[in-house]
Subunit: 298 residues, 2 copies
């Protein structure tokens, strides 16, 4: 498997399944405007890294990836909701996202706030309603608690609050930066990876290994994001660049320099890959995904 | 029981339990600002009608009300979240709520948006994490799906979108008005009443009766709200009055006149009470709660 594994084919196959599920799980309804707004951001493309991690992790732990599709869709809905709300004028005030005008630029601030709320609620509805009955309900409840925690004040929301406090703050510390990334980025990646494992019925040791793996790739992902914000163009990235500098935010590249930041991201990914050694060859997709995170250019 | 039942004592007892649970379930944490913002609105008092309905319905169907406390807290968190987001400048732009400055007036728009998001996510975390193990997980998953639907585009969010479209709309119809109230008010009351019943293990016939009961009291509640917006003072109501007139919104009193609106609310409540006849004397609390809804003055 190691010799013949092709990450691009693997990602493309899962990405297509995810795109189809996102489209099917959220059809147009009444009132049309809110469904159009939710679909506008949810179906705007992107790498679909989080839902793919859910499916890959479920497969790694011996589950049928179909069992985890509702969790995969839910995690992407929550990611999309966090982007819509973060882009609002009262927050980061961004006009472009994934190369398109942001949700509130197209639908207005009121609808953008409600589209985020709708996607957040819908995420839990999807897991609760659509997870196949082969998956014991104990697991479903545990996944819902995990996903909810990843977006609450213990997760994304808490991370975003500290992120807002960091703007132009001359007293920002490395500890605050770690907090932000652990909560704003790693928490949802953890929900994705561990959520897929729980659906599959993984044991606690496997879950703990995957939790550490997801923390590592979460931090590496954010370091690379910070670097790309400095080194990339809006065309390459599909969103504004130079945002951290403009907002006078502390970042890892600012703290350590770009070269050291890249080395640290690579070391985190190496460690993440080793954490999966116990799974043997079946870990190849998640190991390749870890590499992909530090090698990506957008 | 009918002869000796005292609604005020009943409501006070449950309200105290709910207040204690709200406080205990959401202690202060890091970052403090977001917990303060969530607690500011969640612990701002109010009638706590929705959580009390959860507990009363669970008790009516033979469950231990303690089993339903996490669902009760969740429903109140969602109600609070919808108030915080509805009050935002981009929505109804309200400065006062329950006699206090609105969340964004105290904490800023960014934190108010995030406090709503945090409460919404936390609601599902609470049901999933804290519902006692006496309650089978099948029921927990079903309650989560019900509560999630009540706030998604099929519930609160959809109702708020049509509500925003109604403002100053000369083509507003009674059908749109019904849609708004069914989704903005009745959906969460239904989640409360039916949620409590599901936790208790009610049968499908009981659930259907309680669903119709909640639809009726939801509509009656909203008719009375519309009337109070015309006839009450800000001091009596603890929030702005005359909002519907100012926003040129169609309301039931505008459509039918105040007297007819009151009659219709009373008829809905009468029907709601009859729907619970099969429960016998045990239905007294929920029947008294229905009366309370049309007799309240704030």
């Amino acid at each position: 498997m190691t010799l013949t594994f092709d990450l691009k084919t693997y990602l493309d196959r899962y990405r297509q399944q995810v795109e189809a599920a996102l489209d099917a799980y959220l059809p147009l309804g009444y009132p049309p405007k809110i469904y159009e707004a939710m679909r506008y951001s949810l179906l705007a493309g992107g790498k679909r890294l989080r839902p793919i991690l859910v499916l890959a992790s479920c497969e790694l732990c011996g589950g049928n990836p179909d069992w985890a599709m509702p969790t995969a869709v839910a995690v992407e809905m929550i990611h999309t909701m966090s982007l819509i709300h973060d882009d609002l004028p009262a927050m980061d005030n961004d006009d472009y996202r994934r190369g398109k005008p942001t949700n509130h630029k197209v639908f207005g601030e009121d609808i953008a706030i409600l589209a985020g709320d709708g996607l957040l609620a819908y995420a839990f509805q999807v897991i609760a309603d659509r997870t196949p009955l082969e998956v014991p309900r104990e697991r479903v409840v545990r996944v819902i608690a995990l996903v909810a925690r990843s977006v609450s004040a213990e997760g994304l929301v808490g991370g975003q609050v500290v992120d807002l406090e960091m703007e132009g703050n001359p007293h920002a510390t490395e500890a605050m930066l770690d907090y932000i990334h652990k909560h704003k980025t790693a928490a949802l990646l953890e929900a994705a990876v561990v959520g897929g494992a729980i659906v599959a019925g993984a044991n606690e040791e496997q879950i703990e290994g995957l939790r550490q793996y997801s923390q590592n790739i979460g931090l590496a992902f954010q370091i690379i994001d910070d670097i790309l914000d400095i080194t990339s163009t809006p065309e390459e990235l599909g969103k504004s660049v130079g945002k951290d500098e403009k907002a006078q935010k502390l970042t890892y590249p600012k703290l350590w320099g770009i070269a050291t930041s890249q080395q640290k991201a690579k070391a985190l990914v190496q460690e993440a890959k080793q954490l999966l050694a116990a799974f043997g060859d079946r870990a190849t997709p998640l190991q390749a995904l870890a590499d992909y995170i530090v090698e990506r250019t957008n």
